[in-house]
């Protein structure tokens, strides 16, 4: 869609929306099943880490660092803070590695720690994430996902949409923001979200649909602002 109008008409109107959505997977979904060949499953690494193996920590860290950082970043809106929260998360995880319930998957526990670290942080400050201006620069994550041949129009379209989505997300209460991030950006299933947020699946269903409604509302508001 190249109409140069920023946030509007991002999608083809010919019904191919469904196909497009079906073809996408959130970019932060970590493939957790793929490492069995090398014996580097999360379970093995945790066992190794419990034995004091620092290399195991490194592998786990590099495996999850991008998703966790992005989770924090989308929650608090600020790269520096997100880095601090990421550090806090991994260190907390390391501290608790002996005692965490190994019935539970490492991934879900890690996410839980990250979630709580972020929510605690937000609670201590005011509700609105502090977005620094640098995040909206041209260089940076915007290039990710662009096709090789990008017209400047498509480029601007995407940047504006990014800003709008970010603004709309920031307006949501943090639990709605969190659940949308977990579902839409991390591709987690309801059962995983329920485990991470320590709520029932029914709550996930309800909260998610309310979050989506509210997000749409906020997004429309932002759209209107942009088109003024």
């Amino acid at each position: 869609m190249r109409n140069g109008q920023g946030v509007k008409s991002r999608l083809p109107s010919d019904g191919s929306t469904s196909a497009e959505l079906a073809a996408t997977v959130p970019i932060l979904r970590v493939n957790r099943n793929d490492h069995s060949r090398e014996g580097l499953t999360d379970t093995n690494l945790v066992a190794s880490l419990r034995a004091g193996n620092s290399k195991a920590f490194e592998v786990l860290f590099y495996r999850y660092r991008i998703p966790i950082f992005n989770l924090a970043y989308r929650m608090v809106g600020n790269k520096e803070e997100a880095q601090d929260l990421t550090q806090e998360t991994f260190i907390k995880v390391l501290k608790g590695i002996e005692t965490y319930d190994s019935e539970r998957s490492f991934f879900s526990w890690l996410y839980k720690v990250a979630t709580n670290v972020c929510l605690d942080h937000i609670r201590k400050q005011n509700r609105q994430p502090k977005r620094s201006n640098e995040e909206m620069s041209i260089d940076g994550n915007i290039e990710v996902g662009m096709t090789v041949v990008d017209s400047s129009v498509e480029f601007i379209d995407r940047k504006v949409t990014q800003e709008a989505v970010t603004k709309a997300l920031d307006m949501l209460p943090e639990h709605y923001r969190l659940i949308l991030i977990l579902r839409e950006l991390h591709g987690l299933k309801y059962s995983e979200i329920a485990e991470i947020m320590d709520v029932s699946i029914y709550s996930v269903q309800t909260t998610l649909f309310r979050a989506r409604k509210l997000f749409k509302k906020e997004y429309k508001k932002v759209e209107e602002l942009f088109n003024d």
Binding site: R10, L11, G15, T17, A19, L21, A23, T24, V25, P26, I27, V30, N31, N33, D34, E38, G39, L40, S48, A51, G52, N53, S54, K55, A56, F57, E58, V59, F61, Y62, I66, F69, N70, Q83, T86, Q87, F90, I91, L94, K95, L119, G140, N141, I142, E143, V144, G145, T147, V148, V165, L185, K189, Y190, V199, S203, T206, T207, L208, F209, K213
Partner: protein
């Protein structure tokens, strides 16, 4: 006094959705915290608007919908059901019912597209990369905590490939080194990209991290293209390969100065060879472009990983616009893919 209650838990408390143990804690806290009590009253007062609809039994979807103040046409799906449907979380029976309803109901089809379009908006958000500074700090702190405990030889063997490699990484002279987004200027290493790829979707997201000293690209296909050659389960359609996979590439085989890209065909080994080539070429080319622009790679060595072995199959250079030279890619396809 215990920590204040989150808004979510207040909401759950009102809905009587808290686990009994937690509920007791919450009530205990409410007894002594004026702020949380106030918050509870605020939530309750809006809930009161629906008091006449409250029932003792758990809310059915219909009641929940009314509670949200929406009017339903007879038989139409609740928004919550639709929300669950697009997430693939609706029960098989309800899904079938909804699908057959969709065949007859424009309103609901519209609702679905609306919700899906909101989901697609999130795709516009890119990936943020944290600084190497953060990595260093975290690793350093972790190492300090772990001290110098020795570990069993078994772990040492399987993790050996992550330690102490040194490589050379060449950058284009014309692009200012300062433009390197993730501080690659400081790194000297051939870069390995591992793809999990079998589809034709464009806009392949690529991000970069490192394992130990070795930069690793996170890249991946994000789904299945229009020509769906194979039924791939949703789990396999994941988009990030988070760890350097191969232990079989010898250091001597990595070509200095070029990025190394490994294409994994394990997932599409059922395909005819030329179908495989087609299936991945589009998003591989896209990813190359991204890698070129973002990480200023001059050329790329392609490896194939198939049936557990990896081997280099050719080199692709970039033209000055950052597009991979199609000719290079074509000849690789012709030469190699038929052998798979």
């Amino acid at each position: 006094m215990t920590d204040c209650i989150s808004e979510l838990e207040i909401s759950l408390y009102i809905d009587d959705e808290l686990a009994p143990k937690r509920k007791k804690q919450v009530e205990k806290h409410l007894a002594s915290c004026p702020e949380c009590s106030k918050l509870l009253k605020e939530y309750e007062s809006s809930s009161h608007l629906f008091d006449s609809l409250k029932s003792v039994a758990p809310l059915s979807d219909l009641e929940a919908e009314i509670k949200e103040g929406r009017e339903l046409k007879a038989g139409c799906s609740s928004e919550k059901d639709i929300s669950m449907y697009i997430d693939g979380e609706l029960s098989p029976k309800a899904t079938r019912a909804l699908k057959s309803h969709l065949a007859r109901c424009d309103d609901c089809r519209l609702k679905i597209e609306e919700l899906k379009s909101a989901s697609i908006l999130f795709r516009a958000l890119g990936l943020e990369i944290p600084s190497m500074e953060m990595d260093k700090n975290i690793i350093a702190q972790a190492n300090e905590m772990l001290g110098s405990k020795s570990f069993p030889a078994r772990e040492a063997a399987s993790l050996a490939e992550f330690s102490g490699r040194s490589f050379v990484f060449k950058k284009l002279g014309t692009i200012a080194a300062a433009a390197a987004v993730v501080g690659l200027v400081a790194l000297k290493a051939p870069v390995k990209v591992v793809f999990n790829s079998f589809g034709g979707y464009r806009n392949l997201p690529v991000a970069m991290s490192s394992v130990g000293n070795v930069p690793v690209f996170y890249a991946g296909d994000v789904g299945i293209g229009k020509k769906k050659p194979v039924d791939v389960p949703p789990d396999a359609a994941s988009s990030l390969d988070a760890v350097l996979v191969s232990s079989q590439i010898e250091k001597k085989d990595l070509k200095p100065g070029s990025a190394n890209i490994v294409l994994r065909f394990d997932d599409i080994s059922d395909l005819e060879p030329n179908e495989q080539g087609k299936a991945i070429s589009r998003d591989v080319i896209d990813a190359f472009g991204t890698i070129y622009k973002k990480y200023k790679v001059e050329e790329v060595t392609i490896w194939i990983k198939t049936k557990g072995t990896e081997k280099p199959i050719g080199v692709i250079s970039f033209d000055r616009y950052g597009k991979p030279i199609e000719r290079d890619w074509q000849s690789i396809q012709e030469k190699e893919f038929s052998k798979i």
